[in-house]
Symmetry: C2
Subunit: 380 residues, 2 copies
């Protein structure tokens, strides 16, 4: 292998591929990035067996030469060192040349680095996917859907299926659901597919979705999503992101969500977030994060919390509307903040079915995002 590649593009590909590298892999070759060079360009592959990322640098793009190939070949180079070295190289061009025993020389300006590479034949093969089930989502929409749900996945590995985000696709809609037994976050949006398009339920690890979120561009470029039997592939411009589907059956959460409420309030989202953020300064000292919400006859909402060491706080907020039975209810301030911050709407609708039933938080128009948190059963 011998070639010259533009430093910026090589750096970008190395940084993206490195997102799949685990810092504590037990398989030495998986701490490396496989680099393959041929007339079409460069392919970089990295994997931690859960996530695999493949980046492409075409030989030519928009009439500009990105890779000058002298000799085809492939090698596996240490990812962490490579990702730090490339961005520090002095020249905008980087030359790669593999010699004997996979010893690879990287030249840039007057800098010459020899890296001990590994045999690419030992690198695991990426899965071949059947591309018969696929659809597309705009990148920025997919990012929102991840951010509005991923915080609610369980971190408890004893129920692995709950560490993932559930995907349901039917009726030309796609829904993400995350649930950790104390709260649930969901986001639904319409999907540009045929009316009879259907998918089996798919669960993808929250950690994986978080890594994907870091790589997805912030624009509305369409991301191709291919669902195979046990893998999902996200196809971005110049990048393939593979992840495995979590095994197991996701619990039915639909019965948790009431269809009507005993009490409904509409409030200004930011005012409520700010008040609970202040209450959280005291409640978090107590581990349980208890904050109390009290609806009053005069149409105001009192938020309060306390800490045995520090003191207590109360705050009055105006509700835009309160309908139904006036309640006093307690909940986890951290969960409530996560839920409120996932709602991109100036006003929120909160539905209650008594002091011990799930609290449902939605945007005022009650579409798209639905957040559920279980209240605390307290005596006041």
């Amino acid at each position: 292998m011998k070639l010259t590649v533009q430093k910026d593009r090589f750096n970008e590909a190395v940084q993206h591929a490195s997102k799949a590298i685990s810092s504590r892999t037990a398989i030495p070759i998986l701490s490396g990035i496989k680099i393959e060079a041929d007339a079409k360009g460069l392919v970089l592959t990295a994997s931690d067996t859960d996530i695999s990322i493949q980046c492409f640098i075409p030989a030519e793009e928009d009439g500009m030469r990105l890779v000058h190939l002298e000799r085809e070949g492939s090698v596996v180079l240490p990812a962490r060192f490579l990702s730090e070295l490339i961005k520090k190289l002095p020249s905008p061009q980087v030359e790669l040349e593999m010699g004997d025993s996979f010893l690879t020389t990287i030249r840039s300006g007057s800098s010459e680095v020899q890296i001990m590479g590994l045999d690419p034949e030992d690198y695991p093969q990426l899965p071949e996917l059947e591309e018969n089930r696929r659809f597309t989502l705009p990148s920025d929409l997919l990012k929102s859907m991840i951010k509005q749900t991923v915080f609610a996945v369980s971190t408890n590995e004893s129920t692995p299926i709950l560490t993932g985000i559930l995907w349901n696709v039917n009726d030309q809609r796609i829904k993400f659901t995350a649930c950790d037994r104390h709260r649930l976050a969901s986001r639904t949006t319409s999907l540009d597919v045929d009316a009879d398009f259907q998918l089996p339920a798919v669960v993808i690890a929250g950690r994986t979705m978080g890594e994907l979120n870091k790589i997805l561009p912030d624009d509305n470029a369409l991301i191709d999503i291919v669902i195979a039997d046990n893998q999902v592939l996200f196809r971005l411009p110049s990048l393939l992101f593979y992840t495995r589907i979590l095994e197991g059956t996701y619990p039915d959460t639909s019965r948790l969500i009431p269809t009507s409420f005993q009490t409904e309030i509409v409030m200004d989202t930011k005012n409520l977030i700010d008040a609970i953020d202040r209450a959280n300064l005291l409640s978090r000292e107590e581990k349980t994060n208890i904050v109390r919400l009290w609806m009053k006859e005069d149409g105001t909402i009192e938020i309060s919390s306390s800490s045995s060491e520090l003191g207590k706080m109360t705050e009055q907020l105006n509700a835009h509307s309160i309908t139904g039975e006036l309640l006093r209810i307690s909940f986890n301030s951290k969960y409530m903040l996560d839920a409120l911050r996932a709602i991109d709407s100036d006003r929120i609708h909160i539905g209650f079915s008594g002091a011990t039933a799930p609290i449902i938080i939605q945007p005022e128009d009650r579409t798209g995002v639905l957040q559920l948190i279980l209240p605390y059963r307290t005596t006041n």
Copy 2:
């Protein structure tokens, strides 16, 4: 105590004072900030016994009312909670009211927080300093002097005096020196004092100087510096910063610094920093951080390093001049990077007295900053 204060000014004072709070104080009252209110305004005091910070908010400034006093008084409030609460308060005005048992109510907008305070009588007194030895330095110059030396203080508590920065004042000059037995960093500048002004040598903890650096403004406002028997006071606009002087005798480092060299080179600072930064990617894997510098007949300098696991690198740099005997020398790449980055000059002068004598790094004009690092005794 009852008063209303502008939130922004109160927040700024609390954030500044909090810099003196240690997260692991064994004395409960020192986890708090003492707040004293009278007709002149508010005084906030915080201390970890090594550093004490006192901030002032005048009742009125430039014709603007900052504090509305209703009742004088004082209280100690928990620093960490206060510093997070104040910036989150909803209104630009904050009301403080102390009730029974130092229970203090903070009101802002519709938010009301009750904090358990402590008795200000239990708060330790700040030292009274004799102001007979004082001088001034511009804030930005003092910040540079700290940044150019503080990294070289020893972190080894077995020789406490070396964890500090030595101040020498004489001949209308001030010099900071830091030394950890492997390297030395010094910065000298002229001082606007009478010709006969002198000070005994003063050593101030590096950690303290680092905290002061965070508080000093980035402008050239003159900072008043008062040296007492065992304390130094830095007087900023609206802020007093007290620190104790380290006890003990600082070793004489002057004999470490050669007055003439066998070899002198002048190089482009940035090129050398970048090359050693790349070499450091390999050398740091070996704990010793060994980088080699080899002066060649053709007037180039070769920088090289290696790692048994990753590989090796070499790089050729042009020197602007090499005079004297051509050397091969090895040194710690991290120390060399720290030294080079402390020099604010496009070209650097490096002086050598053989492969085993101290390396002296200075700006090309050889004034102001002087950095010394000991070479490694290696066999190549």
